[in-house]
């Protein structure tokens, strides 16, 4: 949080357009899409798992929602279809990781490929920009604003508050952290570990689906490349926000702050005229640095 504030301060001095209302509006909206998904990712990482499939699930949900809208169906139905796909992806991930105890890395890497390919199949590699009779509602939902903030930002704020309360007050979240801390003893304590895992993967996918639906409203169109590479930004957000990749740690506001920080830096680099091709190096590098910082912190703790 402090880092975010500090960086924002520096940037507003260095770059005039940075502090403009428009730019801040854009930054906040951009990280809202990521932040939302990072909330779910944080829960997954807290169990000691990882969900690499979120970007592709966004693509699939977005495409399916777009197709159903385009076929003249109302938004409710289209959103249900998109979220239904996300739910199935999450269910598959969760069942394989939780009940069959397969490696989360491998399972969700597979799903990354499967969901993206399904998006290609159902869209037939075409862009969808006709959203049918509910087009106005869709565009307003994802692209509109309310009291000066973009709608996705409002949703993120509400979701983050709910997630924070969830982490502190729900039994499930307590079990999520316990699984990440010591899976075996959590099982011995009678906690249904497999079900806990299933739930977090479903949550993660559903949030990816929600984010995708907002995003197509903002973009006004959807291609099967929607969300491509987002898994990296989402994971980076969660990790920078304090989720420990070894499991057992993580909080809601951290994920949001992490998403904000990444978007800020991305935006700063652009405004400072750094070639956008550097962005991948930056996001990937930040995950590695966050891991290193965690290692140093842990090392000094056990030593001291």
């Amino acid at each position: 949080m402090l880092t975010v504030a500090a960086l924002a301060g520096v940037m507003s001095l260095v770059s005039a357009p940075f502090a403009s209302a428009d730019n801040i509006f854009n930054i906040s909206r951009n990280f809202a899409f990521i932040g939302l998904v990072a909330l779910g990712q944080t829960a997954v990482i807290a169990t000691g798992g990882i969900d690499l499939s979120v970007g592709s699930v966004m693509g699939l949900s977005g495409i399916v929602t777009g197709l159903v809208l385009g076929s003249g169906q109302p938004l409710v139905l289209a959103a249900a279809a998109g979220l239904g796909c996300a739910f199935l992806c999450g269910l598959t991930n969760g069942a394989l990781v939780g009940y069959l105890r397969l490696s989360p890395f491998v399972v969700t890497l597979g799903m990354l490929s499967v969901a993206r390919s399904l998006a290609l199949v159902v869209s037939n590699n075409k862009m969808i920009h006709d959203f049918g009779p509910d087009e106005r509602v869709v565009l307003a939902l994802g692209g509109g604003r309310f009291l000066g903030l973009a709608n996705p930002v409002w949703l993120l704020l509400v979701a983050a508050l709910c997630a924070a309360a969830w982490f502190r007050y729900s039994r499930l979240a307590r079990h999520v952290l316990a699984v990440g801390g010591n899976e075996n003893s959590t099982r011995l304590a009678g906690v249904p570990v497999a079900r806990v895992k299933l739930t977090v993967y479903v949550l993660s996918s559903l949030l990816a689906g929600v984010s995708a639906i907002l995003m197509i409203g903002w973009l006004g169109a959807v291609t099967n490349a929607l969300g491509q590479g987002y898994e990296l930004r989402v994971i980076a957000s969660a990790v920078i926000g304090g989720a420990n990749l070894m499991g057992g740690e993580g909080g809601a506001f951290g994920a949001v702050a992490g998403a904000a920080l990444i978007e800020l830096i991305r935006n700063s680099l652009l405004l400072l005229g750094v070639d956008p091709y550097w962005q991948g190096a930056f996001v990937g590098g930040s995950i590695i640095v966050a891991m290193l910082v965690e290692r140093v912190r842990r090392g000094s703790r056990t030593a001291g």
Partner: protein
């Protein structure tokens, strides 16, 4: 209340237990002894529902049961494991209540964790144990003795009928050992049955009514402590005496 009938446990080629019979009556404290790898922890884990025996059966109150960690708890069986099985990243109170968290209803509907109640109850349990463990401390930052107190407090939470203790005094100070032994005596007075695994001969002879000796997965002795002696038990453990 607990009967094991020719229980065997095979881990691949390793036979950890071979046809073990054991009877425990309510209010009885049995000391289970044996060398490293004799099968003590395996026996305890079978009774706690972590392993299903590969042969033989476990009976509770004369009825054959197939135990899981959850159903064992429901039958009033609690265990303190040798490795303590705690979540390092959670607080002492969270560990005590793991899987049995207390909730209250917010506005009469929404169930939320009742942190205050769990903190209060754990503090009471630590107090009874004479431990200085604080409910909000993270287990990661605790001493061996404090961890042990957390594991024991967790097992006592539900007032079990049968308490399984795997080396409960291994990591703790002399003063705390006395507390744990006192606790075991207290459990017996309340009719709780205790199975105590320990390497410390003095612990077993101080609190146990019976001593059971395992050697390489076989039960080689099962007799009243008053009829035995530390010397005899040592000889049984090492194999200097075949059986007694």
């Amino acid at each position: 209340m607990l009967q094991l009938r020719s229980v065997g446990m095979q881990f691949g080629a390793v036979e950890a237990l071979h046809s073990v019979d054991l009877d425990l009556a309510p209010g009885e404290v049995a000391g289970l002894m044996g060398d490293n790898g004799a099968g003590k922890s395996t026996l305890l884990k079978i009774v706690a529902g972590n392993f299903a025996p590969t042969s033989g059966e476990v009976r509770l109150d004369e009825r054959a049961v197939e135990l899981t960690p959850l159903s064992a708890r429901e039958h009033g069986i609690e265990a303190v494991y040798q490795d303590l099985a705690l979540c390092d990243n959670l607080s002492a109170a969270a560990n005590v209540f793991l899987g049995r968290e207390l909730s209250r209803r917010l506005l009469g509907v929404l169930p939320v964790l009742d942190h205050a109640a769990m903190r209060r109850r754990s503090a009471e349990l630590f107090d009874e144990l004479g431990s200085d463990t604080r409910p909000d401390d993270l287990v990661r930052r605790m001493s061996g003795g404090q961890r042990q107190a957390v594991a024991i407090a967790r097992a006592r939470l539900s007032s079990p009928r049968l308490m399984l203790l795997d080396e409960p005094t291994a990591a703790i100070s002399v003063r705390q050992i006395a507390e744990v032994l006192e606790l075991i005596r207290g459990l017996r007075e309340r009719g709780v049955c205790v199975l105590l695994i320990s390497h410390r001969m003095s612990d077993v002879f101080a609190v146990a009514d019976r001593v059971v000796v395992l050697r390489r997965g076989r039960k080689v002795a099962d007799k009243a402590t008053t009829d035995s002696s530390p010397e005899e038990v040592t000889a049984l453990i090492t194999g200097a005496i075949e059986a007694a």
